[in-house]
Each structure stands twice: as structure tokens, then as C-alpha cells.
Symmetry: C2
Subunit: 406 residues, 2 copies
């Protein structure tokens, strides 16, 4: 079977946003002994909570529907490499960037001690690092199966102990992982413009580790009360968007031009408006003249120019509006993802979804957004994926309709 | 001189965003005696800080320029009704909605104890209420001069003591004020969806008091460090935008259909994207189906439908982009303002700015955005302003160019 030319009529699709994790109990084998007691207590409490909720609300119509659609809701494919590859193949996805917390319906698969998407500055620093290490060890094993198609994103709590975080970054890099996720919320810890995090950025630049935040967390300043869930859903994007401009305005990308930072599953619709305003401030306008050199002091270029070189959007399941705004967002900064196996993602209808989203996008742009950008950012070896793409990649005809020119 | 027809070829211009305050010392006369010691200490500290900064940075080029342009930077017009009317007249502004903190360059005119734009849940509740009362008393006096052209916005800290806040709302209403401003930041206090604030919304609906938040405050979770000012400037709009959806999603406008809420000097560019997403959630979409009835539980109509009836934007010094988006924002929710006397506003070039912004806007839409909407929201008696408008209002020709049809 030939490579290279074999995929000229197919897309290399890289999902820049998937999730994986074993059944919760299995993290026991990856934790240090001194944390087992706390882990068992946490697990028992989590299970009791799920049972309590089920007892209160009765059978959940959404859960039943999801099970009818997917079989087990992706439970096995969350940890079993063969089952996972089967799902990726069916979806036309050649490679993936793997975040923690595959858990959807309360059955497990979340990193211990909230070390996954809920990692935050207000957690216990020792426990959250212990949970992170356990997940990262498990993740490195998963990625050793079919390494050509998996980039594992280690979760690294950098807020409590910078030195310990850098040691974990070096350890996971040696263990084959090529990316880290830092907490979305710093909470009561210093924000990401603080110079104390400099060793983290240095280590990641040196080791080629792509730095991420992933949406999910939200400030706890909106407490339970009427409308809380709706307020959370309206605001969630913001909390994951903030770290980007904390790094950018404090000059992190000027001091570390090789550093790559990705904001994942946080939409991209907000990028043009916010970055245009950042550019205006950098150039200096009427509204900000009284603030003087605040915008150029640490930042050598207009903020938009860092997009596609240092800053990227893991724009999972993009809306039509986001696809339309791709030039303002920057085609080169746009990384498609399917959020497998979460129900807000496109699984198990990814092929259909790619057709609906990209039918009218020129092939060269779609190639970049669907896979080529991610391949470059995450250093996938495209040659090693060529046979797979030739077998499972969505065809141009499938995406754009019959008669599409290559 | 005739009224009515006299202004057919002129615009009624209402600035929905101006600021006023006396020289700081003068607040002494409006404070209760028991707070004078704290006030004097605050004032001395503030003055020392200004002197220290001036000693450190030397003469400020921006301040010098601003003084050359405006004479005294608006200091006298910040408190003297005659001087204020002269400036309004020159600018073509018939009426105004007055917020605290005219102070620009550290010379005073800010409400005591940070009770103005910096009012926040983490301040001392007794002091901030004392400062608010002092400012509100002073403001009511200012508004008794030329009452037909002034609506005073009382500052009311509602976060520490709801009962006390309601008493102050009743007091200022009886004193002739028609609007209140609540703190932008609740900080460690319950957010605005909490039922404890219900008596505030009830009182404001009953008394026809328009409720405001005004931009300026920002979360203190980004501490001094590289890029802090740029991060603040990038984020400032968000902190003042949040209260709107806290009220809306918790059903405040459903329980109080007569209540009017205005987000002032916070831009309007963000409204279409955010409200469109709120509407999508209300209608129920793929991304939020697992959250069930969270979006319709307290809210009877799609969120966008509250704009122009309950929710308004005090869109000070709108950009061309905001003017272009007026239909998505809703023309009926759009209240122009000049932010007098702040240097980021349009003073002393308001007439020129109105021409530049509205030249291409149809006259009937410009009439609403420049004045008619605000006249309705704030219950200005338009007839009493007719002679003034006939004298000072910008002409259609001035705004749109020669030969404009009425």
C-alpha cells in the first residue's frame, strides 16, 4: 500500500480534544500508597452522591437515550486502546489529543482528587498533585499503544508548588507525553502573569510541551441559587479564555517564542472581538491613552500576531458561525476536535458533522483546520499515519459532495 | 418660541453617562459626624498617594495635554450647575444621567469610602453606605438645579445590608432621584441571582427606579505584576456585564416586568454574541441538552426579548462597530452617552463625535439611540426640554451633512 499519494483524496483528521480515563477504582494502582486512604474515601463519597442523585431524580431520560445511541456511553473506549481505536476509525479520526475526565454520567474515569478538568488553585496542593501523577502515569501507558495516533496531555497543577510542577513536567516528557494542561482557575493563587511561573514556561518551551487550558471550571463566586446552572453555562467560556491574555500581556510569548499555548473546548467565536480590542490597545487609542505604555511594555507585536504561532484554539465541534469567522480567528490557529466521548461532542456522528461544518470550506483551509495545524503543533509524524488515513480518513467527496476537485 | 416643531430639524440628545461630584473636602458637609474621622484619614491618605505618585513620575504629559484642551479638566463643571450647563449646551446635550466619580486626575470628586464606581462587596459595609448617603445627598441638590435636564443615579451598596439599602432607595426616591447604581462586584457576598436581593428589585420596580451597574471595577484576582493594567483593560467589560445575566437567568425580570436595568459604559459590542448564545440555550440545543430545564425554569421568553423592555445598554461613546451592530444589539436598548467629563469620553468634541458616529444612521434610529430611548427609560419630560433642544440640539445637517431630509 502506498503512502503520501494514497491520502490525496482524503482528509487527515486529528481531534484536538478527546478524553480518556480508566474506571475510577483502577487509579488505585497508579497512586502512591500514602494517598490510598484519602482516595478510597473520595471514591465512596462520589459513589454515594451519584446514588443519592439517582434515588432523588429517578431514571434519567437523557442517560437512557445516550445509552441507546452509544451502547455503553464510551465507557470501554475511555480506557481500552483497541475499543478506542475502533471508535476513532469509525469516526474517520486518525489521531487524537487526549485530556482527562472521560467520565460523563458519574460512573468514573475522572482523575483522582479533582486533578483533571476541575483542577484549581483552591484544592489541596498535595492531593491534587498526587491525583495528577496517577492520571499521568496511566495516560502514558494508554499512549504507548498506537503512539503514532495519540498525544497525551498530562494534567499538571502548577499553582501550589512550581518546583514540583516542573519536576512532573520533566517526568511526563521523559514518559512520552508531549503536552500539559494547567488549571483553568488560579482561585486564591497568583494569576498566570506572575513571574513565579516562569520556570514552567521555560521547561515547556525547552521540552516542546504544548501548554493547555481546557474549559469546564468556573469561578465559585456564583453560589447555588436560582439560575446558577444557566449563569454557569453563559460564563464557562470566559474562565478558560482568561489565561491566554494573562500569558500574552505579561510577555510570556516574547520571552518564550517557541512556547505553544492552546485554549481547548472553549469555542472560538469570542476570539475576533477580544483580540481586535487587544490589538487596538496595543496600537494605542483614545480610550486607553491615559494608560500609557501598559500594552507594549512586555509585548513586541500586536496580540493577533501571536495567533497561529504561539496561541491556538482547540475549537471543538465548531459552530457554523465559528467556521465563518475562521479568517478573523486565523485559519492557522484553528484546531478542530470532536470531544470524544462527551455527549456535547460529535461522537458518534463525527463524519456527518464534519460534512455539515466543512462542506463549503475550501479544501486547503479544511485540511489545516481538520488536521494539518494539529499535526504541526503536536508533532505528529504524518508519514506514520498515511496508511491509516488512506483507510479511514473522510474523503473529499464525503465532506464536500460529489465531484470535488483535489 | 414654539416647542414641538422647533426641534423637528434637531436632535434631542441625552447623555446616559455623565459623572459629577464636588471637590472631595466638600463631602464633609454631607457625612454624619461619626464618620468624619475616618473620612479625614482617607482623604489625607489619598492626597499623600497622589503627591507620592507625582513626585515619582514627574510632570504628567497626559495631564498637561488634557488641561490645555479643557482648561480645568472639567473640575468646576463636575459640581457647579451653571458651569455644567454651559458645557452641556456647548456639546449639544440637552439632558444627562449622572453617575458618581467625576474625578479624573486624582484631584477629588470621588464618592467617600469608595462608594462610587469602586463600590464592592469586600468593602466595609457601614463606611460604604455612609459614603453613598453623603454622595446621594449632594447629588440630589445638584439635580434640583435644572431638574428637567438631570437624572441623578444614587449609588446604593446593596450587598451588606439589604434592608438598609431598601431604606436608602426609598429615601433617595423621595429626594427626587430616579435611578440607582449597585456595585459591579459582589466579591465575597452572594451573587445577584440570590433571592436575598428580592426586596431591592421590588422597591425599584414599585418606585420606577432604574437599576444600573457601571463599568470600572474588576476582580482583584489579578494582582500587581507584569501586564496587570493590560489584563485589567481587556477584562473590565466582563465584570460589569455579568450582573445582567445573573438577574435575567434567575427570573428577576419575570417577577418584576416593570423593572429596568442598564449596564453603563461597558460597550455593547459583546451583546449580540452573548445574548444569541443565551437564546440558543433557552431554546435548547445539542450542547446543553444534558442540563435539562435550567434555562427555562425562571425565564419565560428568549433572553433577547428582554432587551429594550427590561435590559438596556448605556453605550457610551459607541464605536463604529457598535453602531453597525445596532440591530443585533437592538436599537431600542441602545442609549448613547458621552462620559463627561472623563477623558476617555467625547468631551469636548461631542458634536464632532456624534457626526462621525451617526452620519450614516437613519434619522429615526439615531433619534432613538441619541435621546428618545433614554427619555423613555428615565422619564424625562421631553416637552420641558423642547426650547433647549431648539437652541442647542445638533441639527440634522450637522449630524448627517447638508440636505438631509427630516
Amino acid at each position: 500500500m502506498s503512502t503520501g499519494t494514497a491520502s490525496a483524496d482524503r482528509y487527515l483528521v486529528v481531534s484536538s480534544d478527546t478524553h480518556a480515563g480508566p474506571p475510577a477504582e483502577r487509579y488505585r494502582d497508579y497512586l502512591e500508597r500514602r494517598h490510598l486512604e484519602a482516595f478510597d474515601a473520595d471514591l465512596a463519597a462520589a459513589k454515594a452522591l451519584v446514588q443519592e442523585r439517582r434515588a432523588a431524580t429517578g431514571p434519567d431520560e437523557f442517560e437512557a437515550q445516550w445509552a441507546r445511541l452509544t451502547g455503553d456511553g464510551g465507557s470501554r473506549a475511555s480506557w481500552d486502546p483497541a475499543a478506542r481505536n475502533d471508535e476513532l476509525d469509525r469516526e474517520g479520526v486518525a489521531a487524537e489529543v487526549i485530556f482527562p475526565d472521560a467520565d460523563v454520567l458519574g460512573g468514573g474515569a475522572s482523575a483522582p482528587f479533582s486533578a483533571g478538568l476541575g483542577s484549581s488553585g483552591d484544592l489541596d496542593g498535595d492531593l491534587v498533585m498526587a491525583g495528577a501523577k496517577a492520571h499521568n502515569r496511566w495516560l502514558a501507558e494508554l499512549c504507548r499503544d498506537s503512539p503514532e495516533r495519540r498525544v497525551g496531555v498530562a494534567t499538571v497543577p502548577i499553582l501550589h508548588d512550581v518546583e514540583g510542577a516542573v519536576a512532573e513536567i520533566r517526568r511526563v516528557a521523559a514518559d512520552g507525553l508531549r503536552a500539559i494542561m494547567i488549571p483553568t482557575l488560579w482561585a486564591d493563587k497568583p494569576s498566570y502573569n506572575d513571574p513565579r511561573y516562569e520556570p514552567v514556561w521555560s521547561a515547556c518551551e525547552e521540552l516542546g510541551m504544548v501548554v493547555h487550558v481546557h474549559s469546564g471550571g468556573a469561578s465559585r463566586d456564583v453560589l447555588p441559587g436560582p439560575g446558577m446552572v444557566a449563569i454557569y453555562a453563559t460564563e464557562a467560556w470566559w474562565w478558560a479564555a482568561r489565561p491566554m491574555w494573562c500569558l500574552l500581556w505579561s510577555g510570556v510569548f516574547d520571552r518564550h517564542p517557541g512556547l505553544k499555548f492552546v485554549t481547548t473546548e472553549d469555542g472560538a467565536w469570542w476570539v475576533p472581538d477580544i483580540v481586535q480590542r487587544m490589538d487596538e490597545k496595543w496600537h494605542g487609542g483614545h480610550n486607553t491613552v491615559k494608560l500609557g505604555r501598559a500594552f507594549t511594555e512586555h509585548v513586541g507585536r500586536p496580540p493577533s500576531e501571536y495567533f497561529g504561532t504561539n496561541v491556538f484554539l482547540g475549537a471543538s465541534t465548531p459552530s457554523h458561525q465559528e467556521i465563518e469567522r475562521r479568517h478573523e480567528i486565523k485559519v492557522g490557529a484553528f484546531l478542530w476536535g470532536n470531544d470524544f466521548p462527551h455527549p456535547e461532542g460529535t461522537w458518534p456522528h463525527t463524519r456527518k458533522s464534519i460534512h455539515e461544518s466543512f462542506a463549503d470550506v475550501p479544501v486547503d483551509e479544511a485540511r489545516r483546520m481538520l488536521g494539518a495545524n494539529a499535526a504541526a503543533v503536536y508533532r505528529f509524524e504524518v508519514d506514520r499515519l498515511a496508511d491509516l488515513v488512506a483507510r479511514i480518513g473522510p474523503t473529499l467527496e464525503e465532506v464536500h459532495g460529489a465531484g470535488t476537485q483535489v
